[in-house]
Structures are given as structure tokens and as C-alpha cells.
Symmetry: C2
Subunit: 393 residues, 2 copies
Amino acid sequence: MTNRSNGGGHGELLQVLRDGKPRTRAELAALTGLARSTIRLRVESLSALNLISAIGEAASSGGRPPSQFALNASARVVIGADIGANHAGVVLSDLNGEILARHREELAVESGPVVILEWLVATARRLLAETGRASRDLITVGVGVPGPVEHRTGRPISPPIMPGWDGFDVRGWIEGELGVPVLVDNDVNIMAVGEHAVAFPEVADLLFVKVATGIGSAIIAGGALQRGAQGAAGDIGHVRLERADGVACSCGNVGCLEAIAAGPAIVRALWETGTHIRDNRGIAQAAARGDIKVIRALRQAGRDVGEVLSTCVNLLNPSVIVLAGSVAGAGDQLLAGVREVVYERSTPLATKTLQILPTQMGADAAAVGASILAIQHGLSPESIDSMVAETAP
Amino acid sequence: MTNRSNGGGHGELLQVLRDGKPRTRAELAALTGLARSTIRLRVESLSALNLISAIGEAASSGGRPPSQFALNASARVVIGADIGANHAGVVLSDLNGEILARHREELAVESGPVVILEWLVATARRLLAETGRASRDLITVGVGVPGPVEHRTGRPISPPIMPGWDGFDVRGWIEGELGVPVLVDNDVNIMAVGEHAVAFPEVADLLFVKVATGIGSAIIAGGALQRGAQGAAGDIGHVRLERADGVACSCGNVGCLEAIAAGPAIVRALWETGTHIRDNRGIAQAAARGDIKVIRALRQAGRDVGEVLSTCVNLLNPSVIVLAGSVAGAGDQLLAGVREVVYERSTPLATKTLQILPTQMGADAAAVGASILAIQHGLSPESIDSMVAETAP
């Protein structure tokens, strides 16, 4: 009780300042409902931590003008990391999400957790050094991995394309090295968080769909990322589809959407008709050349994805669907196929104002999303209150 | 600013007291972070409104023991109303959701909004009178209707089985009569709110499915009801199903789940094979008699519903699916069919701990849900702060 009374409220104060607008102590008292005396103490400790600083001067009716305080976004940094099937990227951002440094490499997730995470930690330290930041400036790390993650523990669970990672304590391992809180989530969730924060901050209901080597989605509902009971929400790649009847999927089942509409399935089907393409990049190149077989395959994959999405639209009634991933981004054909089926099949009410759009983020999407997740956690009232408590005399 | 500073914080105080535990002013200050002087004023105005009252005496180390305050749940009441296709029900509850009086009648929603809402208002007034409550004791009204509702305005939008109700200002009409805030939502949403609050308060991700004259669902994700962009979330009745190919649906489309698995579709199919059943009640009676044709029809309806739900499970990863409605409740066969397909088709991770259960609520489910919605709104910080502001000198 006494702790909460004396120690709490720093986080609440910082929440108010996250919009970047400078405010006086009196304004902060009015906005938070905290006592003036409490505000004085909180402003003092947040300033001591360099999380806020006095700037400018407020208009005043006379006498000494009262100081204004604002979030000091450049005072601290976060790391956002994106571990893909065949690449890994790390970005260092300030508390506004502005990227200060980045690095990306071709790396196979199959190399296993220790190899990949040692690289991640070394890269994070290098980016800190390059930008002249001390390791105590780092407040949180966000990491995306290409498979399902148990949100509570930050461990991948039965991830199909991550051999050696099942149950590995990714969070604990990185925390042990970098000494700050680490959040682990699947790559589609973090891309959705990034897309939502950067491109659609005002949208409450958004469905983010990635079509690449696998097919997955992430749900923003009521303005928040919904992970479901086991962190498995959004797993549309293994919905059974009539057209996929009998086709074996890498998950061990048959008839999954992923088994006919993801990159490897498109490559396999094209190969059988004599079009020899190797991977997702090859699909994009052939589509750009106007290869009619490839274009038709992408259109059909879009219709297949659209069939599953038409159910998702009736169920979730999102206002925006964002399509991302190397296969979805191989020209406009996949998007067109999705639109064709969703606008035909979903209910008129659910599609009335629905927009289906390509992603507006670049190659850094996942790493940016991971850093936004890290900032959200790092600036949460609980995190701030505990930072203050740790540094208290 | 001044208003917020002087007028706010009542709602926050009441939120803390909603668990029913009495607390001293010092405890309230510690829990809310509000200044002691602010707490004194807030406790005074909430006591004046009779929303909280001093009870018992706290243990003290000497001197006069400090007073403890608790939510006065019986001080105010809410109305919960459930408008079904062929019935309507009204309950009067206290602020703990305890039902003080109820009334239910056979009424056709087709009679149109004015007939039904006049009945609803008259019934609400009668229940107030029967329980000796003044109309000023009423703080909010919650209403469920059997069709989609635009959440922002409280108007039904293109409701298929509610002729004359499209765009009708249900909220405004009742507010004009009863003079308190009114919340309107579709019946499946309010049943889900009731089921969640009463039977599964600790579950964050729940899918509530109603199979009756129509088929619909409601989503609890991240602990909250998700309505989607147009309030149309949960509309699984019009998902296209392979087995329903070519079957006309009342929505104007063909191939919808509802066209083969809802009550009227089952009745029609049975009639064609010579089993003459009239309605959902007839289905339940025949199932109870052990009529094998009816039992098989229910099992198949369960499989059809299960096919759509298997996609919903992959997408939302709920920990509980609740089945309700007169057709779902006609014996155990429909539930068995749902389980059969969902446990076969959804991903192992999403079904690992998934429970599929019949509703634990009775005939009052929707009216109870509507009163819980009314209580949640009536005790929200904003509502309480505005009640205090209205009665301020």
C-alpha cells in the first residue's frame, strides 16, 4: 500500500507525455488527477532518469513562467529484432520509434537458437556502439520469430520451420546477455503491430496477412493485438480448403491452405507444368516479366487465400486487411484474387467499407514492429514504475 | 482542465470498490494514487448519491477507527431486455447483477419497433413499481435484438428477421421514455457477455455460438467483447459451405451455413424425408424421443457448424467455445458433431486445451447479459463522473 502510494504514478505521468506535447506540472496534475505534491516528486524522479526534460517556457500571466516537461525520446533506446526463415535483422530505435541504426543479414533460422541469438546480441551491441549509446541506455528488446510463441514464457512452441527452437527460452537467453526485459512474439504479430502503429494508428480492427514461405495472419481487434489462448491466433495457413483436398502439407496434415497457396506450393505446381522457378524471389521476377503461367498461379493463390479470408471477414468484421510477404508482394495478382473472392463471398455489411491493401512497410517491417512492441512495453506504467524503483536511493 | 481536476476521479474510485470489499479513505488513496484531500471530496459526493456507503469499522491501532466504504449495490438498478424473434424478456437487477424481478412474454419482433419498445418500457416501469423502486434509481438500460446493430448509434442495420427495424433509433426511443443511457447490441453479443461474466469470468478468449432460427457467434478476445468495424463481428451464419452448395439462404445468397444447419433448414430437410416437425421445439422433442432421423440431422448440423468453427478456432485460438440456442440445446448430438469436426480439423496447438461446452445459462441468458452490459456502462468512470456532475450544486 505504502509502496504503491509513494512509488506509483510515474508510468501514468509518462503515458500522458507520450504524445510529445510539453506540459506544465499544473497541466499534468489536471490530466492525471494526481496531487500537485505527487506531480512534483514524479517529475523530479523521471527527470533524474532523463526520461523527461524541461523544455521551452509556458505562456504565463506574469511572474516566473512555469516549466514545461516533455518525453525525452532520444534519452533511451530499444532493440527490435526480426528472425526470418532465411534472414535476420536488427534495428536500434529511440522512444519515438525512429530508427538510429540497422543491420540485416542472410541467416538460416535452422542454424538453431544459440547461433542466431549470439549473432543477435552481438549485432545489438555493435549498433549501440556505432551510435555511441551506453548499454544502460537500452530499456527493452523485442524479437520476432517465424513460428508460434507462447506469449507468457516467450518460448517458441512446435514451430514447424525452426528445428531446435521448440521450447527454447529465447527471452531468458537474451535477458541473460543484455540485462533488460525481452518480448518474443511471432513475426506476423510483430509486423502487424508495426503496420498498425505506423500506417493505421486510427484503425481499431485490422487483419494482417502474410503470404510467403508460409501463410499466417495477425489480428488487431478493439485496437489491440489479439494472441489467443496459446498465442496461436491468426494461424490461417492450416485451414482446410476444398481445392487442396488430398494435398500434403508440411504440418503433417492434408488439404491446408498453405499446401496450395504459399510460395513452395506455387513453385512446385509451376515446376510440374514445366516452368522452372526456384523460390519466392523467382516467382516475383517471373511475374514482373509477365510470365502468364506465374501470373495465373498467383491469381489462383489469391483466390484460395481469399476463400479463407472471406470467413475471417464475416467473423472479425475488420475495416482493413493488409497483405504482406514475398508472395503477396509479387505483383498485384495475388491481391486481386483475394479481393475478387472476399468481395463476392463475405456479407455485404462486413465488406461495406472494407479496404484490402498491400503493406505500406518495407523490408524492415518486422524489425520496426519488434521495436514498437519493445517501446510499448518499455514505456508501460509498470515498466516505468519499476525503473524508478530500481534507481531510488 | 479545471473541470477534470475538480470533477474527475469519482469513477476511478468506484472501479476499485466494484469487488465489494470495504476500504478506508487511506486505502482508497493508496489504490488510486489520488490525493487524500481528493479522496475525501469524492467519498462525500458518491455517498450523497448513495452509490457507496460507510460500513463496519476497520481495525485500528487506537483512537477512533477509520470508516470503511463499499459499493452500495442495492442503491441503484438497471434494466436488461432481450428481444428475440418470437419472445421478449425484461429483468431488473441491482448493481451486482442480482435479478430483483423479471417478466417474459411471447412477442413477435415482426410487430415492429414501436409495439415492442412500448411493451419494453411499460414492462420496465412495472418491474420498477413491483420492487418499490423509484425511476430515479434506474441508471442504465441494456437491450439485445436479434440482428446486427451499429454499435456507435444503437440502430439495427439491415436485420434480416426484423422487418421495420432497419435504422430505427432504438437507443434514442428508449432514452426518450426512460431518461437514462441505453445500450443496444445484438442478442448473441449480450448472451456472450452474460456467459463470460457469470460462467467464465477468468477466461480471456471465448467464442460464443448460437444455433437456433439463425446461426451467429460473439467473440470475447483479450477479455473484451469484440464487435468489429460495423458491429457485424461474429456473423458465421453466412459463411459459404461446400455441402450447402446451391442451397438458397434467407439472406439472398446461396450456400450459407445457416441455409443447411439452422432450425428452419433442419425442419425443411426432415419434412422432405417424411418427418413432419414444425419448429425448433419440435426438433428438441423428437430428439428427446430418440427419433433417429432427427438425431442424425442434428449430428450433421453439428458437423457443418464445426467445419466453420474449425477455421474460427485456428484464427482466434479461444480456450472455450460455448454452444447455445434452441437447436444446439436439442440434446447432445449437435455438440458432438461440432466436437468431432473441430478436434479433427483445427491445429493441434489451437485445440490442445480447447473446451467445447453447452451454455451454462438458462432462458434468461440474453436478458442477464443485457443487464451486465448495462451495469458495466453504468459504473464506468465516465458515467459515474457525469452522474456526479449532474447532481453537483
